[in-house]
């Protein structure tokens, strides 16, 4: 009699818990492949890749790195468009900032289930631990995720399975429940000890999580974007630009995005054709994008602010080049704005 090789798809974030969950199931002889969803809000790599000052930081994609450690395939899926509805209309609301963590988890498990069905995989694994996260990983949310994703009892959380009802892979004998775990709470010691036991010594544990929506400053910038647009919506470029530069909104009708260093300026260069932009030409200067509908008077103010962030900030006068989206360009001599003339309220 031949036994069927059972297959599980593991949600791989690149963090420790999902890596351990996949490893625990691999150890039970299950064929595991990883899936990683790209929402556009992922912290992964972006700012390190853009900023020159982060040039010495590791640029690895942690999910891919985890897949290599485990020797599994990893499928990275672009869900940018579909994910908008999760961010804009979270049924279960937001966490501390604009992080829709519970809706996000439901959505990702649902997408993983769809993928598993298409690819002929038997069940889904996550690295969830009861009590680990205040919004999405609580005893009460575990069944909500299972039911609202449609995964039901094909969703197995190996790290806390013993604290949860039995699932299909356990009931069918594909995995042994006694070899699963009963972790709970925010204590990371059991996971770190387990990692050591598996010989996994290098793993990512980002302090702020792996999503920009859990970041207070980023969430403020996103809320400001929605207010300026007059509606809760965004395009991919919007959310990318919120990750970059210093954002100042001197007036409701326009915002400035100011590169803070060479890498950011290079990145912003790629957006020159989409935005009116400014640069001091008489001195070293950041590139400044203007987002919105500025009047001529607003552009004069934008030029003074640009001058403030250039190396000519203490000069009596500097020359700022202004170029519109249509490519019309002119030079405006301006007096750099004094540092105390930029109120705190302008900083988004």
């Amino acid at each position: 009699m031949t036994t069927i090789q059972r297959k599980a798809v593991a949600l791989i974030s690149g963090g420790l818990d999902s890596m351990l969950a996949a490893k625990v199931i691999q150890e039970q002889g299950i064929h595991v492949e990883g899936i990683n969803f790209y929402t556009g809000f992922c912290v992964e790599g972006h700012t390190h890749a853009i900023r020159k000052r982060d040039a010495d930081k590791v640029k690895r994609n942690n999910a891919l790195w985890v897949a290599e450690q485990l020797g599994i395939k990893l499928h990275i899926i672009d869900i940018i468009e579909e994910y908008k509805n999760v961010v804009l209309n979270p049924k279960h609301g937001y966490g501390q900032y604009l992080n829709p963590c519970l809706d996000c988890k439901i959505f990702m498990v649902k997408k993983a289930k769809e993928w598993a069905d298409e690819q002929g995989f038997d069940f889904i694994i996550t690295g969830e631990v009861i009590g680990q996260r205040p919004k999405s990983q609580r005893k009460v949310t575990m069944p909500i995720i299972a039911s609202q994703s449609g995964a039901e009892d094909r969703l197995l959380r190996p790290l806390c399975a013993k604290n949860l009802p039995i699932t299909v892979p356990e009931r069918e004998g594909w995995v042994k429940r006694e070899l699963l775990y009963d972790f709970s709470g925010r204590n990371r010691t059991p996971q770190i000890n387990m990692a050591k036991g598996f010989g996994l010594n290098d793993f990512a544990q980002p302090a702020g999580g792996c999503c920009f929506l859990t970041n207070e400053h980023y969430s403020k910038k996103l809320a400001d974007l929605w207010q300026a647009k007059g509606k809760r919506d965004y395009e991919f470029d919007d959310i990318m630009l919120l990750k970059i530069g210093r954002h100042l909104r001197p007036k409701p009708n326009f915002k400035l995005i100011i590169g803070r260093e060479e890498g950011e300026n290079l990145f912003l260069e790629g957006y020159r054709k989409q935005f009116t932009h400014l640069k001091v030409i008489s001195h070293m200067s950041p590139l400044v994008l203007v987002d919105g509908e500025p009047s001529a008077q607003d552009l004069a103010l934008a030029a003074q602010i640009t001058a403030r962030y250039s190396q000519g900030k203490d000069c009596e006068k500097v020359e700022v080049q202004i170029t519109t989206q249509s490519g019309v360009s002119w030079v405006m001599p301006v007096v750099p704005l004094a540092s105390n003339a930029i109120p705190e309220t302008w900083y988004v």
């Binding site: 640029k59 690895r60 891919l64 290599e68 990275i76 672009d78």
Partner: protein
């Protein structure tokens, strides 16, 4: 076996990987794919992605503001 090209310039990781993943679904074993990128992260991510999926990394060529990665579909 044929040669193909993919322009992933201006895309930040993991988008170059996602684009390569999509492109390779249309290719056959042994085909060669040249990927043009600007994100420095691609020179780490694409080789890692090749390793986990059994494709062969042929070369990574770095120019001042561009990286060309060639691989053979496994």
């Amino acid at each position: 076996m044929a040669n193909y090209e993919l322009n992933a310039k201006g895309l930040l990781c993991p988008m170059p990987v996602i684009k390569v993943q999509q492109k390779i679904q249309q290719l056959s074993k042994g085909d060669i794919l040249m990927v043009y990128c600007t994100d420095p992260g691609a020179q780490f991510d694409l080789p890692a992605w090749c390793r986990v999926h059994g494709h062969t990394l042929l070369a990574v060529q770095q120019q001042p503001h561009e990286i060309t990665i060639s691989l053979r579909v496994g």
